[in-house]
């Protein structure tokens, strides 16, 4: 039996992270191959297959987009590159798209991290672009690998919170436990993101009452009204799509019921601000990001907003992960933890089983954040679950 070296000798509330030129702290040290256009996504993926230490993602956006929809997609690309978990970025474009690789790259360069641009048309095609991108990435990965982790504080963490594939236990076990973590993180000076606006419809009054000022309170009702209006425009009961069939099978009957359970993730601290999709929080503490309830779009928005780690509760079970941020998956019931152990990191079903309290599970999750932030891999990372999806708010032309 070999001895296991435990990193957790560092005090609670601290972790080993990577300091970035702009002062932010990463919990991973990825080189991101960032395709700003769907046409470059396959080449980006090929580079990740050639060069260890690189990550990328597949998407279908980046051209013939206008106005706020253009801005939101741009902000998402930028945020993925700017996230402190990313050491350096190779921005990969085609050449003729609306979301120009060089525009994204010039914004990213302001973070001080290594950023380079490769264009498929300038490189004479796919193979040239892959070769050029791979050469640049190879250099970046070697430089990244020489960086040493240093002791950092939880006050430097932005933790996203999310629930997906909810069941009736979500609001009883895992979500309240994440609420405890949110409170503790805020106590340590860190930032917790609450999101999925759709799944706060019916619980907004509880959060509005916790807003730090009138402006934030007003924004709560504005983002809820806008999301509800979008649903109303479809001319059907939102229950045809949310709660989902799995939520309903799990015992959730209405969106309001799901929302009241989801809102538990927000703990009990004051709501500091409401931010746009993929926007970086401007304040520490509890913030609300306006995102849809769809898991991948929400996750992407929070990661692009700078979340280094995401807590994800599930009652039905989901594999969701991010190419650049570890996602800690927490089951709401023990049956799920036993069935889908390949995907789930922690079990909060012990609360339902009556063998653990909400506080003690919250404490376990809090400690897991320290371990994961210091380098422990989550299941979604091990299984290469590199999900990415942008919340599009306009048509493609």
């Amino acid at each position: 039996m070999g001895e296991v070296i435990v990193l957790s000798t560092i005090p609670s509330g601290k972790f080993w992270g990577y300091r970035r030129p702009d002062g932010s702290v990463g919990v991973r040290n990825h080189v991101l191959i960032l395709p700003t256009i769907t046409c470059a996504a396959q080449a980006a993926k090929q580079i990740t297959e050639l060069v260890q230490g690189t990550v990328s993602f597949i998407h279908q956006h980046g051209c013939t987009q206008v106005g706020e929809d253009y801005d939101q997609t741009f902000r998402t690309y930028y945020g993925m590159g700017a996230n402190p978990n990313v050491y350096g970025v190779v921005v990969l474009g085609l050449g003729c798209e609306t979301h120009q690789a060089r525009s994204v790259a010039s914004e990213l360069a302001k973070t001080g991290k290594p950023v380079e641009v490769v264009s498929i048309q300038d490189q004479g095609g796919t193979l040239g672009a892959i070769a050029e991108g791979a050469k640049i990435a190879t250099r970046m990965v070697q430089d990244a690998s020489a960086q040493i982790r240093e002791i950092c504080d939880f006050s430097e963490l932005i933790v996203g919170t999310e629930c997906g594939g909810s069941d009736a236990c979500s609001g009883l076990s895992a979500n309240p436990a994440v609420g405890v973590v949110s409170d503790r993180l805020v106590e340590h000076g860190g930032t917790a993101i609450l999101a999925e606006t759709t799944e706060l419809i019916g619980a907004e009054h509880l959060l509005a009452a916790r807003a730090v000022d009138e402006r934030t309170k007003k924004r709560v009702y504005e983002v809820i009204s806008a999301m509800e209006a979008r649903a109303m425009m479809m001319g059907v009961d939102i229950r045809t799509g949310n709660p989902t069939p799995g939520n309903i099978e799990g015992g959730l009957s209405t969106l309001e019921e799901k929302s009241l359970g989801a809102g538990n993730k927000a703990g009990s601290t004051p709501l500091q601000e409401v931010i746009d999709y993929a926007q970086k929080p401007t304040k520490k503490g509890l913030v609300w990001m306006d995102t849809p309830g769809q898991d991948i779009e929400q996750l992407t928005g929070m990661v692009a907003g700078g979340a280094q780690i995401v807590l994800f509760t599930s009652g039905r079970g989901t594999p969701t992960g991010s190419p650049i941020a570890p996602v800690i998956k927490i089951s709401t019931n023990t049956g799920l933890f036993e069935r889908m152990g390949d995907n789930i990191d922690l079990n909060a079903g012990t609360i339902i089983d009556g063998i653990e309290t909400i506080d003690s599970v919250g404490q376990r999750i809090f400690e897991e954040i320290g371990a994961v932030a210091s380098g422990k891999w989550t299941k979604s990372e091990i299984l290469k679950q590199h999900d990415f999806g942008i919340w599009r708010i306009g048509p493609t032309f």
Binding site: A168, G202, G235, D237, G251, T254, L255, E257, L260, G315
Partner: protein, 103 residues
């Protein structure tokens, strides 16, 4: 064993529903407690794990509370002990279907 009680939870004393924390068969006699409130119930139907049942008689159109908050309204009379779910509880929010029907 004789006192083997099925596990349930009622979040707030003012709630009209409680949640089964395991599969519970019809006819089961339950004692549901929340703070000072104690309700004796005989289940009218099987209640799967995670699903809700009424702890009081509920009239048609009445708001239904869980967590002490409104989760929707009863679409018909619901008797104490009945399964409360999508067949007799409807959401009040995001009802685009009503918008169409009313216009």
């Amino acid at each position: 064993m004789a006192e083997a009680a099925y596990r349930t939870v009622m979040m707030k004393p003012q709630d009209q529903v409680a949640v089964a924390l395991e599969d519970i068969p019809a006819g089961a006699q339950l004692t549901v407690k929340c703070q000072e409130r104690i309700v004796e119930i005989i289940l009218a139907s099987d209640i799967p794990f995670g699903h809700k049942f009424a702890v009081v008689d509920i009239s048609q159109g009445e708001d239904i509370l869980k967590y002490g908050e409104i989760i929707g309204a009863a679409v018909c009379e619901i008797s104490k002990g009945e399964h409360v779910h999508v067949h007799n509880l409807e959401g009040k929010r995001g009802r685009g279907d009503r918008l169409v029907n009313n216009s």
